[in-house]
Assembly symmetry: C2
Homo-oligomer: 352 residues x 2
DNA sequence: CCTGGCACTCTACCCTGATGAGTGCCAAGG
DNA sequence: CCTTGGCACTCATCAGGGTAGAGTGCCAGG
């Protein structure tokens, strides 16, 4: 019935929101705890420091800000950043000039690996933090051609050409020696039956044929199918993710203890934790933000992660993002990650 | 004519040498400046601390040791380490047990890239420092087979198979469209003329044929040669070197300022400086050691680098080594690097 | 030439007091 | 009821000083 009611329903009244916002912005800019005096000057609210102290006290009680010690200013907590990001932040889209610069740096002529690396480089260069790109799932790459090359004895090199620009080699150990022309025949057979499918479909198709029509096939066809099975067997990709620009993380005061850096860099070399984190984002649509402990990985307690999935042919095939200190310029980082994901998707798409 | 003469001729008398050696060993072990008292106990010379102080004073004058401040012990200088390494150090070869363990971890079945990465991993794991391997020069890989695969329009994929296990892909842009069978013919032609050569020889051969017998050839042969020229044109390898285990460098107190770490890690991502350093070692035979500033690169002032070239088919094809603090256990590191180089060479060799 | 003794030097550590930034609370005023 | 100035208070930071400990350089005696 009163204004206080309104402010309850939105948890925070307008003044507190403005102050929290000013506080976060100031802290992100300066990296120093923000005092009531500074806020009085910068928030544009025409309040005395004393009043602001009262509000701060409330915010602290709500767990949105905290002070390192009695007589330091306030610093946003993870929760504070969260509220800021969710409802105080105005993400202004990048202007077209910046977008063009980003776009130019993602040359669709490159092969997938280089493209992905460029994207990660781009992210880390623009944000001055660590960039990462989960590489496209090969499952969705359209198979264009498959060839076999005899290496020696029972060793055969399988060459898969996908999406015009992408090539994969797999060395197979066969159960017996095949002649050059036999291999050629098998390749022809597989090409006829699998071209245009993506890798997963190809795998399924091979398995289907193998089970269903075994008896109707001649030896060659059977061998071809068996070969196909080997080619398309799920292989783990060891280079599933690219990280670049980790070095930038050394420049942030809040991470600059050697211990923290050590465990962060460990996470980058281990990859595992970060991979699982990225994989949880692959199903989300649009930008995801993990602030501090939200990521659930202890090494990232003082970090925030901003990710966005990217699409090829209308389907999500990967995720990219950045890692930096919780104290990052979200209003800038978020659109950068967002746009980069779209551009990478577009670049990958343009060649299919 | 006196003993002093003898000691001049070898620059240092026996006592001083023993003390320097004890000092280096103690400092490498403990990481603390070594006082005269400690030396008196550990050097096994039955001298009083006071006498040792006199010797230390001499060593300091010669620039072999220095003290961080008036009342700290002594620490070896780069020159001190140099003398230690050159003439005081006894490198005991690794016992066969350790060698076997190293050998087992270098599986010759792997392709070149994985093998090289294993070697670097091995170096960093065993030494607890950063490992690096300059990858084998492709020039010396024997060409086994060359195939062309039509991708789309004028795009052709060239596949080079070398040394049984190694495959290289290159995408070529042609001046006109070639049919499947034309490509096949050209591949046959090149295979006939180039098989068994290494890449450099192949390149030279192609250029020779191109110039010499141009008029005697039919169109197909000419086209084949031109294609060959494109395939063998010098391409820079961007992954010329592998670094692993940089994270270990964070554990050494003498490097643990964030600034130093930063510039070190920058050197690892830039690669350039380290590449040139490694390349100077490629012509040396056997283990090379750069202590502190000897490497000539400022970032490595507090580091030592130990390298060894490795051979395939009697020819040096690459270098490997480790980077760590100047305060490292040389008597252990040197044989490890030495053996690893031999083992990597052997592993690479066993598949040619 | 070696050695014990001694004065000296320098770091690391702790305690101290001063300074300044910033807070919490309160009572007065709109 | 909200705002505000005032005031006491807290705490980090810094400089100064004093002490303990490690280690040195030098000297005189063996």
């Amino acid at each position: 019935m009163k204004t206080s009611h309104t402010s309850n329903s939105q948890l925070l009244n307008d003044r507190a929101r403005r102050l929290l916002r000013a506080l976060v912005e100031s802290y992100v800019r300066e990296g120093q705890p923000v005092g009531s005096r500074t806020l009085a000057r910068t928030a544009g609210l025409d309040l005395s420091p004393a009043s602001i102290r009262n509000v701060m006290s409330d915010l602290e009680e709500m767990g949105l800000v905290s002070s390192p010690h009695t007589s330091a200013g306030r610093v946003p907590t993870a929760q504070g950043y969260r509220l800021f990001v969710d409802s105080l932040l105005e993400v202004k889209p990048l202007d077209s000039h910046e977008v063009r610069i980003l776009k130019e740096r993602l040359n669709p002529e490159l092969d997938t690996k280089s493209l992905v690396e460029s994207a990660s480089d781009l992210l880390s260069a623009v944000t001055q933090m660590a960039g990462m790109v989960r590489v496209p799932r090969r499952d969705h790459a359209a198979l264009m051609q498959i060839e076999f090359l005899k290496l020696s004895g029972r060793q055969v090199l399988a060459i898969l050409v996908m999406n015009k620009n992408e090539v994969q080699n797999r060395i197979l150990q066969l159960d017996r020696e095949y002649s050059h022309s036999e291999l050629q025949q098998m390749a022809n057979y597989l090409n006829e039956h699998l071209a245009g499918l993506d890798l997963r479909q190809a795998r399924e198709q091979v398995l289907r044929e193998m089970k269903a029509v075994r008896e109707h096939m001649n030896t060659m066809m059977l061998a071809a199918i068996e070969l196909g099975e080997q080619v398309f067997s799920d292989q783990e990709q060891d280079d599933q993710v690219v990280f670049t620009g980790q070095i930038h993380l050394m420049d942030y005061a809040e991470l600059s203890s050697v211990d923290k850096l050590r465990s962060l860099f460990e996470a980058f070399t281990e990859k595992r934790d970060l991979l699982t984190l990225l994989d949880t984002c692959i199903s989300a649509q649009g930008v995801q933000i993990f602030i501090g402990q939200e990521s659930g990985h202890k090494v990232l307690d003082d970090c925030s992660v901003v990710t966005a999935p990217y699409n090829v042919g209308g389907q999500v095939v990967g995720v990219l993002g950045v890692i930096g200190p919780t104290r990052m310029a979200y209003e800038r980082i978020i659109p950068v990650v967002d746009i980069t994901a779209k551009l990478l998707g577009a670049a990958l798409n343009s060649r299919n």
